[in-house]
Amino acid sequence: MLQSLNARAMLVSIGFLVLVLGVWEFANPAPDASKPLTEYEILMGGADQEARVPPPSAVIIRAFEELSNPFYDAGPNDKGIGIQLAYSIYRVLTGFMLAALLAIPVGFLIGMSPLMYKALNPFIQVLRPISPLAWMPLALFIIKDSETSSIFVIFICSIWPMLINTAFGVAGVRRDWVNVARTHELSPLRTALTVILPAAAPTVLTGMRISIGIAWLVIVAAEMLVGGTGIGYYVWNEWNNLDLTSVIFSILMIGVVGMLLDLALSAATRLVQYEE
């Protein structure tokens, strides 16, 4: 039954894909050369291929070209999609790891101590709703390096979900399990590592999963802003080149990489998940 459900779901998915691609391909034909040019087209220097949304066939051809040689490097404005993605992933992972190093211990502290919770909560409430990109000018001014600034922005936006989920998970550890640790005379450190951490791990990892999703959203915008390298810069650069085929292709790649990051963390979550 489940098998057939999966099979049927896949069929429906493929059906939708074919339908959407078909409509996209044929509903937007190339401009007819015999038609007189509109005033706008004359102003823009003629109706060329670029003035329309490219059909999926063109995107697929471009994907083949790009993916067959993803790591070429022909100067600052012409790097392979693999290199650009690698830059973005590197920044996301660096910012994310640094955020985890700070957010998880602080989350522990807040979750374990009602005093620290009350003391730090106002700061968290004010800092959390700030759009991470709003930090960019300040970061650029202080750090004076666009690369590090984008990592900093990722760091800032990754902190909050991890911090809040860790605190929530730690504070919600069942009283009974803490009592088990107490009756076995565990030291505070061993209690934290052998009881609280495994008990809160699924919640902590859910926070990490939300964080990496947000970080991947933010990195594209941050790279558009600071330029240089990365998938965000790539999208913006191709837009400036009016190469919409590449823009659509890179949008798809952003989606695929985001999905892979999410899958990796959901696999990690499953590893620490337990059944009560």
């Binding site: 009974d176 399990w177 009592n179 088990v180 107490r182 009756t183 076995h184 005379e185 565990l186 061993r190 052998t194 009881v195 495994p198 008990a199 791990a201 620490v272 337990y274 059944e275 009560e276």
Partner: protein, 303 residues
């Protein structure tokens, strides 16, 4: 005064509430000797778990003191093993790792092999093995979880074992087998046990002495009933002991009628419960023996 292994003096626990404080129990005085099996019976909500948490050191009393082996109880300790009302196994660890977790904390210097061997010994003692010990608690039945929890408590070889309604959630059959298991272990190890239960028959089967608690709030330990039946006891045979029904009737009468009558705060009119006094000692089995003995004598006289 005779010093017992476990001494409870003027114990009281009050919780601050919206409308004044709530006195769960007060004036609790009793002692438990080494190797003794003591059960406490009372209606739901009278404060049995609250007393046990204080004895375990998980909760501090509002008044009074608990002494074990001459020193004051001031926090949880590996000398007191606890089996919680809801098993409290760590769900991310397999059954055997729940036990090794305890064993390692008890003997930090032991190597892996020692810890493993010791843990398996206690798992076998409660009849758990054959691969079931490798499963997580969620994949075990309620009875198996209870066995793991008992093995965990016994494995640290505590001086005092505290059991909070350990069989409350089990069906009658499983309960019976685990009770037999417990009787066997206690006969073999002479473990000192303090156990909470709702089940009168279970208390008679297991206990040397049964403490009776009045209804809360302001609950008290009103009586200490001696279970004067000889060991070893067997579930099937014990009901044929002439002392069995006198004890059972006494307990049921207390639960049905007197726990309510005796409830409420201590007043000067209830001198039997003067502060610091031990609960009244009763021995229904012996009383019954003497009565029937007396009856036979008078019958002989009449003849």
């Amino acid at each position: 005064m005779i010093k017992h292994f476990l001494e409870i003096e003027n114990l009281a626990r009050r919780f601050p509430g919206k409308d004044g404080e709530l006195t769960v129990f007060e004036n609790a005085n009793f002692g438990i000797d080494k190797g003794e099996f003591v059960c406490i019976i009372g209606h739901s909500g009278c404060g049995k778990s609250t007393i046990m948490n204080v004895l375990a050191g998980l909760d501090a009393p509002t008044d009074g003191n608990v002494f074990m082996d001459g020193s004051e109880v001031a926090g949880p300790s590996l000398d007191r093993g606890v089996v919680f009302q809801n098993y409290s196994l760590l769900p991310w660890l397999s059954a055997v790792h729940n036990v090794t977790f305890a064993v390692r904390s008890r003997w930090p210097g032991w190597n892996k092999e020692q810890v493993r061997e010791h843990s398996y010994r206690y798992l076998e003692m409660v009849g758990l093995g054959g691969g079931a010990e490798l499963r997580k608690p969620a994949q075990l039945s309620g009875g198996m979880r209870q066995r793991v929890s008992i093995a965990r408590a016994f494995a640290i070889q505590p001086k005092l074992l505290l059991l909070d309604e350990p069989f409350g959630a089990l069906d009658a059959l499983t309960r019976g087998t685990i009770q037999d298991e417990l009787v066997k272990i206690c006969n073999a190890t002479h473990q000192t046990v303090f156990m909470i239960t709702h089940d009168v028959d279970e208390a008679i089967l297991l206990a040397d002495r049964i403490l009776l608690m009045t209804n809360g709030p302001h609950a008290r330990i009103a009586e200490s009933v001696k279970v004067d039946l000889k060991h070893p006891r067997e579930r099937g045979k014990i009901i044929h002991d002439p002392g069995y029904y006198p004890i059972r009737n006494h307990l049921v009468d207390f639960l049905v009628r007197r726990s309510e009558e005796l409830s409420g705060a201590v007043t000067p009119e209830t001198p039997a419960q003067a502060a610091g006094a031990y609960p009244v000692e009763v021995n229904p089995a012996a009383t019954a023996r003497n009565e029937t003995g007396g009856a036979t004598l008078s019958a002989i006289d009449a003849r």
